[in-house]
């Protein structure tokens, strides 16, 4: 299938109809309040008052503006996001979170009003963000479901044996569909079996050939065949992954940390798409340490820098390979946090701000409704911006709408969206328009 693996051509990977969604999950609950900060005087002053010692100074922000919502600034560790936003390649989605249906402040105390299950619980929210469902009724990931839909209804990836749904380092629920199983790949792990590196080489070859016979001969049992097929896919993928390892050189270096390494590997795999015959792929990568109950200023500096630099290098790589309009990266996190500090940190929240980056993004804007800090300062429950008086944002946009917008860009039709996100029918707007 692949010849000349030493010199893979990447001239124009946009030949076939290829798209990729790349989910970048910030584990722990990122404090969006300090990722993007309002800079208009009244809002900034209310922010500063509410945040106390955790407030960023105006001169610590990288200014950006939204035509209707005003002036804002990115956290000082995110100059790359300012640059991407200002060049129209990044957008912010404000105050998005798990919702069953549009929710007002007063709804929270109504006995029969449906709220997402186990809000503010890490383990539950991590699952819900990946299933796209605000309860435990769904056990597939919405990334996997998007790939299912593209394969089953639109025949993408039909000729390809390369995984269509890939998570970095460990299996992610996001990638599991009903028909597509996620594959987890570790950067640097080319799926080689140590057992086949045997001395002398003739012994290794003999073992490999024996294994090949075993795992490709139909057994008469469907489960045995399926198990053998997984190992057989690894054997087939090994030379592809190993060959691509050195064949790609990135003009803009990636950070050497975990997230940088993961996104670099994803970029490498994306650059292979035309060789592998994949048309639609989803990827999942992640970074931890966002649960800043204490030491937030220092920890968040590290976190925001890691996300900003890695996404920036990743976007640059997609430009280099000519696939920037075909790849959209976006962030997710367990939940947002309280505006009000708790010691040197913050507590679990609900709504959060997220980033979408890519050549197809209608960037340079803040989508959704950015909560007014003045509604927090003079706590105004009727404004429905906050869930409580500690500055937990009450989402004005649902995760279902966030996902549906990305799914539609990915290729899902209008009529497919409710099936991908079961609570979507509760929301008037299915496509938020950021991509």
């Amino acid at each position: 299938m692949l010849t000349g693996l030493g010199r893979l051509e990447f001239a124009n990977a946009a030949v076939n109809d290829y798209k990729a969604l790349v989910c970048c999950f910030m584990f722990g609950g990122n404090d969006g309040h300090n990722m993007i900060v309002p800079m208009d005087a009244a809002q900034y002053n209310a922010y500063k008052l509410g945040r106390g010692g955790l407030a960023l100074n105006l001169n610590q922000l990288h200014p950006v503006s939204d035509a209707s919502q005003g002036q804002f600034g990115f956290h000082y560790a995110m100059p790359e996001m300012q640059s991407l936003y200002n060049s129209g390649r990044a957008a912010v989605l404000a105050n998005v979170g798990m919702l069953v249906k549009p929710t007002l402040f007063a709804n929270q105390s109504q006995a029969n009003f449906p709220l997402p299950a186990q809000l503010r619980s890490h383990s539950d929210q991590v699952v819900q963000m990946q299933t796209g469902q605000p309860d435990t009724s769904v056990s597939t990931g919405w990334g996997g479901r998007c790939v299912d839909k593209m394969q089953v209804s639109y025949n993408y990836n039909a000729g390809s044996n390369f995984p269509a749904s890939i998570s970095m380092n460990s299996p992610a629920l996001f990638c599991s569909g009903a028909t597509v199983a996620g594959t987890s790949l570790q950067p640097g792990n080319y799926l080689g079996q140590s057992a086949l590196n045997l001395y002398p080489a003739s012994a290794g070859t003999a073992r490999k050939n024996a294994q090949n016979t075993i795992i490709t001969t139909p057994s008469g049992n469907a489960l045995i065949d399926a198990a053998n097929k997984s190992l057989a896919s690894a054997v087939a993928l090994n030379p592809i992954l190993a060959g691509a390892a050195n064949a790609v050189s990135f003009q803009k270096p990636f950070p050497g940390d975990s997230l940088g390494t993961q996104l670099k590997e994803i970029a490498r795999i994306i650059s292979l798409n035309s060789q592998l015959g994949v048309g639609r792929q989803v990827f999942f990568c992640s970074i931890g340490m966002f649960d800043t109950h204490s030491g937030q200023p220092w920890q968040q500096q590290e976190n925001q820098k890691a996300v900003s630099q890695a996404l920036d290098a990743f976007y640059a790589a997609t430009v280099q390979f000519g696939v920037d309009q075909q790849v959209t990266a976006f962030t997710l996190s367990d939940f947002g946090r309280t505006l009000q500090p708790s010691g040197s940190g913050t507590d679990h929240g609900w709504g959060n701000h997220h980033l979408i980056v890519g050549g197809a993004v209608n960037g340079g804007k803040i989508y959704g409704r950015f909560p007014l800090m003045t509604n927090y300062a003079n706590f105004n429950a009727t404004a429905d911006d906050y869930s409580d008086n500690r500055g937990v944002m009450l989402p004005s946009t649902s995760l279902a709408q966030y996902g549906a917008t990305l799914a539609q860009w990915f290729g899902a039709a209008d009529g497919d969206l409710d099936g991908l996100f079961p609570v979507l029918p509760n929301f008037a707007v299915k496509n938020l328009g950021f991509v």
Partner: protein, 263 residues
């Protein structure tokens, strides 16, 4: 769970076609609700299907499910919900004990099950789990740390491109999971200079037939297929020494679908 009197409605409640009378305490309502659920006719088949999938086969026949569900409904002594009777039926039912099971019978062993099964077959110790749990993380089954109430994988996962066959454990058996499992196994086998636990196999390794028979008995209870047998046999003569001959036979068998799928 804590009772919240301010949220407790005192009137009668109808639920799943049954009524909880008015004026009960929270505890009485809770107990009554659980009884209503417990007595619902769906519960037997639901529990039967989940337990059969966990213990025996991912795609049980309707007759097998019915037999197990019936045992849940009534254990022969007038008692509903006797799990001992249920498990006994699951394991003793002819479908579980069929020496020639059909083409869709069986279930994939989870990483823990195949590692423990292999370790038991060859009688080797695993050491403290904390030493290798990180490897199980890469295989999708971090010990005692399931990511959701569903466990490490969805009980409803179907094998891709199989015509809809259930295979929940396949949700964490992608290409990389397979290689990680294989490399974990090989790491155990290829202790330098040799793994003492496989000494008995090294001792007989010069005799290919005896070696294969021994591996067959240990791992596959004498049911090794001719394909597997021949493949191992044909590769043994290329191995550089008896140590690698033994490792070869064990590795190829333990990573074959024949072993990984419990039947």
């Amino acid at each position: 769970m804590l009772p919240m009197p301010a949220r407790h409605v005192a009137g009668a409640k109808t639920f799943l076609g049954q009524t909880l009378p008015a004026g009960q305490t929270i505890q009485q309502d809770l107990d009554g609700s659980i009884d209503i659920i417990f007595n619902h006719p769906n519960v037997g088949p639901f529990i039967a299907t989940r337990l059969i999938r966990a213990l025996v086969t991912s795609n049980p026949s309707p007759a097998y499910i019915t037999a197990v569900a019936s045992r849940f409904n009534e254990n022969g002594l007038g008692v509903r919900g006797d799990l001992t009777a249920v498990v006994k039926e699951i394991l003793m039912n002819p479908e579980a004990r069929n020496d020639n099971p059909g083409g869709t019978f069986g279930r994939l062993r989870t990483p823990e099950q195949s590692i423990i099964g292999t370790a038991r077959a060859f009688n080797w110790g695993m050491g403290a789990a904390s030493g290798f749990n990180y490897l199980l993380v890469y295989m999708g089954e971090s010990i005692l740390t399931a990511p959701s109430v569903f466990g490490h994988y969805s009980p409803l996962f179907r094998i891709p491109n199989s015509g809809g066959l259930f295979g929940p454990e396949f949700q964490i058996y992608s290409a990389s999971d397979a290689v990680n499992r294989a490399n974990f196994l090989y790491q155990k086998l290829s202790v330098y200079p040799f793994n003492p636990a496989i000494q008995p196999y090294i001792n007989i390794a010069a005799n290919s037939q005896a070696l294969i028979d021994a591996v067959d008995n240990a791992l596959l209870f004498g049911r090794m297929s001719q394909t597997l047998r021949n493949a191992i046999f044909n590769s043994l003569s290329s191995m550089p020494d008896n140590n690698q001959r033994a490792i070869n036979a064990i590795y190829l068998a333990a990573m074959s679908g024949e072993y990984l799928v419990q039947r």
